[in-house]
């Protein structure tokens, strides 16, 4: 029996799907994810928007061409299994398989006629053969477009909703520190997550910790409490009308806002830093902070 409520959701660059709790994100790229279990890679997914006509055969040939010679020869199209077909009813799907000395794989190329996104999803397996129902459930949960103007980002233990106008420019997942840097024209929004908070705040308070995130030159950060969490808020903007007018022509951002909050129960510190040459949209920042969480 598969308990889907114990699965975790991955959402990255517009696509989202669920994976078993014991699978982990191994590699994260631009429109690319490699999922691992204890024994190594177990699933790979890459996706891209398609302009013009889409051909499953051409994509399969291209996929085969990118592989090593031995694997290349073994890539062959397969009829889509009934389980996978049911799981991918909203997509045009074609199945394929391949094998190498150490492992073999089975996957699908799916094309969404609604958003014109093509995705390649493949499952690696050593012996014994994969649990087909697990793969079917992953495929069943796969979505590649969203109905509103917010994009969900969910990786490891962070989850955020960011307006679709913001593009992810840079990401960093290091032990203890995660960082997602989004940009929309001159506006930058950076989401931070630090852990373990108990260690980071053992010799300093949240305000002192905030000083390691941004340099507070013009104004001082303000400590507070919100929903039982310790918070720090800081903002800076040009003081005079002349400075506000001039800020539009400067290369660097003149408007800054930083919010940090300490989730004591989860032993995390979350943070949002916003920077722009123009005045910041506080409603937008409120929305991002409200939906940014550690799960």
């Amino acid at each position: 029996m598969i308990l889907l409520n114990q699965w975790k959701e991955i959402a990255w660059y517009g696509v989202r799907f669920k994976i078993p709790a014991d699978w982990q994100l191994g590699q994260i790229g631009i429109r690319y994810l490699l999922i691992e279990d204890e024994f190594g890679p177990t699933m790979e997914i890459k996706w891209t928007p398609v302009k013009g006509k889409f051909s499953h055969q051409a994509h399969l040939k291209r996929l085969a061409y990118l592989q090593k010679k031995q694997v290349r020869k073994s890539v062959k199209p397969e009829p889509v299994s009934a389980e996978w077909e049911t799981a991918l009813t909203d997509f045009e799907a074609s199945e394929f398989s391949w094998e190498s000395d150490s492992t073999h794989g089975r996957g699908v190329i799916v094309f969404c006629p609604t958003c014109r996104n093509a995705s390649l999803i493949q499952f690696f397996h050593k012996d014994p053969p994969p649990n087909n129902s697990v793969a079917s459930n992953v495929l069943n949960s796969f979505r590649d477009h969203h109905s509103d103007d917010q994009i969900l980002w969910s990786a490891y233990d962070i989850r955020a909703l960011v307006p679709e106008t913001f593009e992810l420019k840079h990401h960093r997942f290091e032990a203890g520190r995660y960082e997602l840097d989004f940009a929309d024209r001159s506006q930058h929004i950076i989401l931070y997550r630090w852990a373990p908070a108990s260690v980071l705040l053992s010799k300093q308070d949240l305000v002192q910790f905030a000083r390691s995130v941004a340099s507070f030159s013009r104004t001082e950060p303000v400590a507070g409490k919100m929903d039982g969490c310790d918070t720090v808020e800081w903002s800076a903007s040009p003081a005079s009308n002349w400075g506000r007018w001039l800020s539009r022509f400067k290369g660097k951002a003149s408007y800054h806002w930083l919010g940090l909050w300490h989730l004591e129960a989860k032993n995390r510190i979350l943070g949002v830093l916003a920077e722009d040459k123009n005045p910041l949209d506080t409603e937008l920042l409120d929305g991002i902070c409200t939906h940014y969480e550690s799960i």
Binding site: Q24, F39, G40, Y156, A175, A195, P196, V199, S202, R268
Partner: protein, 127 residues
């Protein structure tokens, strides 16, 4: 003799095998605990023969080994305390991750990097 002969492949172990190994502390080391609770490890370092020869030439009494100190931070100390010569890397990762409420991957990276650094300095061996 082939000058540009291909390097032999090193013995590589899988991630699962590596996690099942047990780190064992070097018997030649000693440790002190600071007031803050952090651990300082004292470990001997043998001087390289070249440097030992140089030192001798300058008339310094022969010193074959030096004692170096390594101060661990709070997280390093917590992993160090967990190493009892019985627990595997996997168990250390689970306990460390559980104590600090870290993501499994994050805990694994932190602990394995720390163990690698200790191994590089000869402070632990793997069984």
């Amino acid at each position: 003799m082939r000058v540009f002969k291909k390097k032999p492949k090193g013995s590589s172990i899988s991630r699962a095998e590596a996690l099942d190994r047990i780190p064992v502390k070097n018997r030649q080391i000693s440790e002190n605990r600071l007031e803050t609770g952090e651990v300082v490890i004292n470990y001997p370092v043998t001087m390289r023969p070249v440097f030992a020869g140089l030192v001798k030439r300058f008339g310094v009494p022969e010193v074959q080994t030096q004692i170096k100190k390594l101060q661990l931070d709070e997280l390093g100390t917590s992993v160090w305390k967990l190493m009892d010569g019985k627990r595997s890397v996997r168990q250390l990762v689970e306990m460390f991750g559980g104590t600090h409420q870290l993501e499994p991957r994050e805990a694994e990276v932190s602990v394995t990097q720390f163990i690698r650094e200790l191994g590089r300095r000869g402070l632990i061996g793997m069984r």
